[in-house]
């Protein structure tokens, strides 16, 4: 069991190095935040120890572990999503060569009542 686990661990490290070294510097903060959410899977471990707890101390430890891990996983994913939403190729307002205000007006006219052109 332990050897199999160790093999999985080492191979996962290599996969991690390969995949993550291709992430551009501009996304390093969301990357770290996304990695943060992934280690929120420790919530699964916390659930398992909560399931087997039978003493008061066990319950207290399990509660703290579950709360910590839940904070990690929920907060991590939400904040990563929030950050990634801000990365835009070009906003409709910033068309080169055109005045900002008129570009916005043109965008509104072109895209109907909601006034947003998603890129």
């Amino acid at each position: 069991m332990l050897l199999t686990d160790f093999i999985i661990f080492v191979l996962s490290l290599w996969v991690g190095f390969e995949v993550i070294s291709k992430v551009p510097a501009t996304l390093h903060t969301p990357l770290m935040s996304a990695a943060n959410s992934i280690h929120g899977i420790v919530l699964a471990g916390a659930i398992i120890i909560a399931a087997t707890a039978h003493s008061l101390a066990g319950y207290v430890l399990a509660f703290i572990a579950v709360a910590f891990a839940a904070m990690n996983v929920v907060g991590g994913y939400v904040v990563t999503g929030r950050m990634l939403k801000m990365f835009r190729r070009r906003t409709p307002a910033a068309v080169p060569g055109g005045r900002q205000a008129s570009a916005v007006a043109a965008g509104t006219a072109a895209s109907g009542p909601d006034g947003r052109v998603t890129s």
Partner: protein, 468 residues
């Protein structure tokens, strides 16, 4: 124990792990990154549901267990959601630190609980990972709390050190590892308590001597620690989902740590030993004495910018500290509308964590194709009519190219290659390295002494009035 059920659970964990890998892979371009995050969420939900099914199937969980899980998810999840929704982008490093802390703490608790429950019944091989989980998780927990406190300004960001600090650190580390090894041979709760205490204190004493400028490295390293702690927790409870996810995060943290350390030309060891930016750096080798500094008024700077064909903006942490991201974006938009080619030169350690400056500028609606990495932008400086440096200091100092200075060998932005340089800065104060910036005395450089936010607003107003 039905074999089929466990096989299905294991396959779901495998699918979840695949989602994590795919999610990270999709982060290789900003265009697909959001989908990557969603894929990762899907994997997480699947893994957690499978875990729920597993504990129900095992039939050991009672009402108490469910109450604990529900209460924990509501309290922790609620706090996480609130923090994630309300955090300001400038405070992102603190939040990531807090998430590192709770992730590491949860991993340590899993091992502690497992050890309490099983004690002497576990095999020696498993208790090695248990002890490692307790140590790494505890160090991450207390270290990340201190890092968050320093970033938030609740604890001084200056290096805090005392005579013999390194010896104390070594003793603490030795105590944690030594007693930990003893625990494997002879299990006992007192020993466990000593290991936890030593590891917690070590986490504090490890981060306290590290200065504010080194925070990008520290956060990355603690991120790697958290991942490793979670992987160890996976070993303890024999859960492949935790092992794979932990290893992925460990790899991510490891890569970022190395990138950040390289970007400052400092070894990870030197950073962990601390003392950088303590003010005792040798200033003697910097610039010719008495070199004069030219200042520039807003109107003249505005003319230079407005009639340039290519402007490179060099933002540093000072820009973020002054909350001037929106002002710089407004100026850049105005210049672009006049047909000026504008791009941003982002040094890897421009913020307080890897990629921080990019997020801050993205928040100010700067399109990401304009954000250029150091290697990409450096060849473009000779073509730039104006390099506009805002709140960046050490990363533009040509002294880094010569040996014998505090920043020698650090990769820098070749700002001095631009045809002219305008620096917006409040005073001639030093950066973290504590040395004079030779860029400021370069004949091509004009200093515009102002707060970043006010200075940029003045420039924008001046461009508007001068050239309509």
């Amino acid at each position: 124990m039905t074999g089929t059920f466990n096989t299905i659970i294991q396959l779901i964990y495998l699918a979840a792990a695949s989602c994590f890998v795919l999610g990270l892979h999709l982060m290789n371009t900003p265009a697909t990154a959001r989908r990557g995050n969603q894929v990762s969420v899907a994997g997480m939900v699947a893994a957690l549901l499978a875990t729920g099914a597993l504990v129900i199937h095992d039939g050991v969980i009672g009402a108490g267990g469910w109450i604990v899980i529900a209460a924990g998810v509501v309290v922790g999840g609620g706090l996480g959601l609130f923090a994630a929704r309300t955090v300001r982008m400038t405070a992102m490093p603190q939040l990531v630190s807090v998430f590192n802390a709770v992730g590491g703490g949860a991993a340590a608790l899993v091992a502690i609980r497992d050890y309490m429950e099983l004690g002497s019944h576990v095999a020696a091989a498993t208790s090695v990972t248990t002890v490692l989980d307790v140590i790494i998780g505890s160090v991450t927990f207390s270290g990340s709390i201190i890092a968050a406190g320093k970033l938030q300004g609740m604890i001084t960001s200056a290096p805090v050190t005392f005579p013999g600090a390194r010896v104390v650190n070594l003793l603490l580390a030795a105590a944690a590892v030594g007693v930990g090894a003893y625990l494997i041979a002879a299990p006992g709760m007192i020993g466990l308590g000593v290991v936890i205490a030593a590891a917690l204190v070590f986490g504090i004493s490890m981060v306290m001597p590290i200065g504010g400028a080194d925070m990008p490295v520290v956060i990355s390293l603690l991120n790697a620690f958290t991942g490793t702690a979670v992987a160890m927790a996976g070993f303890v409870i024999d859960n492949t989902g935790l092992i794979i996810a932990g290893a992925l995060v460990g790899a991510s943290g490891g890569i970022l740590t190395k990138l950040m350390a390289d970007a400052m030309n400092r070894s990870i060891g030197a950073i962990m030993l601390g003392g950088f930016g303590s003010g005792d750096a040798v200033a003697a080798l910097a610039g010719p004495a008495g070199a004069s500094v030219q200042t520039i008024a807003a109107d003249d700077a505005a003319i230079q910018l407005a009639y340039a064909s290519k402007v490179i903006i060099v933002p540093g942490y000072g820009l973020a500290a002054a909350q001037a991201q929106h002002e710089v974006a407004a100026l850049a938009d105005l210049l672009e509308s006049r047909g000026v080619e504008v791009s941003y030169a982002i040094h890897p350690v421009a913020g307080r964590m890897p990629g921080h400056m990019n997020v801050l500028l993205a928040e100010a609606n700067v399109p990401y194709p304009l954000l250029k990495e150091m290697d990409e932008i450096n060849p473009e400086f000779p073509r730039a009519d104006v390099a506009l440096v805002i709140g960046a200091n050490d990363v533009t100092n040509p002294a880094a190219r010569r040996p014998g200075t505090a920043i020698s060998g650090m990769p820098i932005l070749d700002v001095d290659a631009a045809k002219s340089v305008i620096v917006i800065k409040r005073s001639m104060g030093h950066g973290y390295a504590g040395i004079d910036n030779e860029l400021y005395t370069n004949p091509k450089t004009s200093m515009f002494f102002a707060d970043a936010k006010k200075g940029l607003a003045e420039l924008t107003a001046a461009v508007k009035t001068l050239v309509g």
